[in-house]
Symmetry: C2
Subunit: 338 residues, 2 copies
């Protein structure tokens, strides 16, 4: 299935996360060490479950944001390592709880922890990682960073509950859906980017800029993820095409396709999403409706919009390697579509 990618700028196709990876390489080695050490416990099941997820090949985009955003303002201490690790633990805890809530079997092509160790271990190891994340933040000792990260934790959880309450509801508007992903995805990107300038002692304007960058990058990232679920390849994606649909999950492509459809189209969506249990034939039909309504290409246009906001947020900042790497990540997130 082809999607018309509405990118004017051909460079975006070659945008890469590499400059960010290079920039943060030595710090990320320390983060990875700290992850292994803080996921350790005499209770053997904890490192087993944690390492399963931690080693499952995520890009660790969020901790890299923290490292780069601290480096952008010349930070030279050690606190960014602990904060970056905290951010990754918060993310990992969320994934563990999400898989339980969504009853997911696969994540990034591997069995989810809950399939191997059960829902119980997934809930509790998630709680443990969250506890360790808070301990590390407290060790850093910045009340401002604590405020931002604990605020994000509460907002993420609120967003997850909100998602639960809009789930199966086909009357969900684009704005409703944006509220969900603003909380459940963008809040952590935002906090990850904001704590860098905080510990670097940057100005309020600089904090605000990085927070806005993080929020909008997170929105773009999530919208592209939504598209990939209908347009990706299982081996790249680590999940099967159509997983969201099979689970009856409402994402922006579904919202747009439903709202733009005929009465018959809408009846199909209502039954597919509200009743669930969708097979390959239903997925084929859904893909047809999504194509007909331009829902994927328009979701990408929405992602481009948030990407542009993220880019302008950083515009007044001094030109540094970190800034340039963070800007390229915006295009990289959107170019994952190819």
């Amino acid at each position: 299935m082809g999607v018309v990618i509405p990118l004017e700028d051909k460079n975006k196709y070659t945008a890469s996360v590499k400059p960010l990876v290079e920039l943060t390489r030595s710090d990320m080695e320390r983060v990875n060490q700290l992850i292994l050490s803080k996921a350790g416990s005499d209770v053997a099941m904890i490192p087993e479950v944690a390492n399963h997820l931690i080693s499952s090949g995520g890009k660790r985009l969020r901790p890299m944001l923290t490292l780069a955003s601290a480096g952008m303002f010349g930070y030279e201490g050690d606190h960014h390592i602990k904060l970056a690790t905290s951010v990754e633990f918060m993310h990992t805890a969320t994934l563990l709880h999400d898989d339980v809530v969504d009853e997911s079997d696969l994540r990034r092509g591997k069995s989810t922890a809950r399939m191997i160790w059960g829902n119980q271990a997934s809930v509790l190891v998630g709680d443990f990682l969250l506890g360790q994340a808070f301990r590390m933040m407290v060790e850093v000792g910045s009340l401002e960073a604590l405020d931002v990260l604990s605020g994000a934790a509460a907002i993420i959880a609120e967003g997850e509950v909100l998602q639960l309450s809009v789930s199966k509801n086909m009357e969900t508007t684009e704005d409703d859906y944006l509220s969900v992903i603003r909380a459940k995805t963008a809040a952590l990107f935002s906090a990850a980017a904001e704590v860098g300038p905080i510990i670097a002692g940057a100005s309020k304007a600089e904090r605000d800029a990085l927070r806005s960058y993080g929020t909008n990058l997170g929105l773009a990232f999530q919208l592209v993820d939504d598209v990939l679920d209908y347009n990706g390849h299982a081996q790249n994606l680590g999940k099967n095409v159509g997983d969201d649909f099979r689970e009856g999950k409402i994402t922006l492509p579904v919202v747009l396709s439903y709202r733009r459809g005929t009465d018959a189209d809408r009846a199909f969506w209502r039954s597919a999403i509200e009743e669930g249990g969708n097979d390959d034939k239903a997925l084929e039909k859904a893909l047809g409706l999504i194509t007909k309504s331009n829902a994927l290409s328009d979701t990408i246009i929405r992602a481009e919009h948030y990407g542009a906001v993220a880019r302008d947020a950083l515009a007044p900042m001094a030109e540094t390697k970190a800034k340039s790497a963070l800007l390229e990540v915006i295009d990289f997130c959107i170019s994952r579509i190819n």
Copy 2:
């Protein structure tokens, strides 16, 4: 079924939580207000689930410990209200997650949240309350209090996982079991009592005293709870007699009865705990073995031991109304057995 209560001191039968309730009454009104306000959210399911559990008639012993332990050292600010509320939220979050992990149907005689709203809402609202708890602690701004409470959060979660990994294992020793309840119950009592002297600016010796008091009170409290499960009345207890047994949960009465039993007794316990699905006939048999082995009365003697340690922890402290109320709570916890 009768249990020989090995109490020399008749006063213990009349020990009451009332002095603590009286002492903290006006502060607890503020705590209750804050609970309602911080459990509020535009996402309707959050206050519904939270209020179900919060209003289900728990004694709120933990926040009262925080209030009294702050008052004991002459604290006159406002921070104890937020910390007490944080402690209650941490406790409530743990209950929500526990009910999911234990697949419990009833708590304090009411349907558990997971039975009404599902496991998903229970996991996520628990996460939300934990997030709110951290936000309130951060607002208080004491890094020492944050250190104690975030440490407790990680230890509690670690204890829950440990419990999961010892569950169904009849070779669990008394020490193993103590490690579990030290983490999953005593750590929060301990933190609740320690943050009082911290915000009151008390000395290290005073902090240490209250921490030790909290830890040992928590251990005594949990051991008595274990006894009540085999010896209580559903209407007082809010759970049915034998719930722990039916779920195949290992508690100290089971550990003692198993270790003191004949080969045949041990074979019964192994099959009952490892295979689960225990009916009333099995419960009757278990109660018989527990009586034969004096496991309940000896569990109470163990609880008395920890109660005595808690009492001595406070011994050097100045005589105040708060101290006297906290001491009486030790006897009250143990006298719940009658």
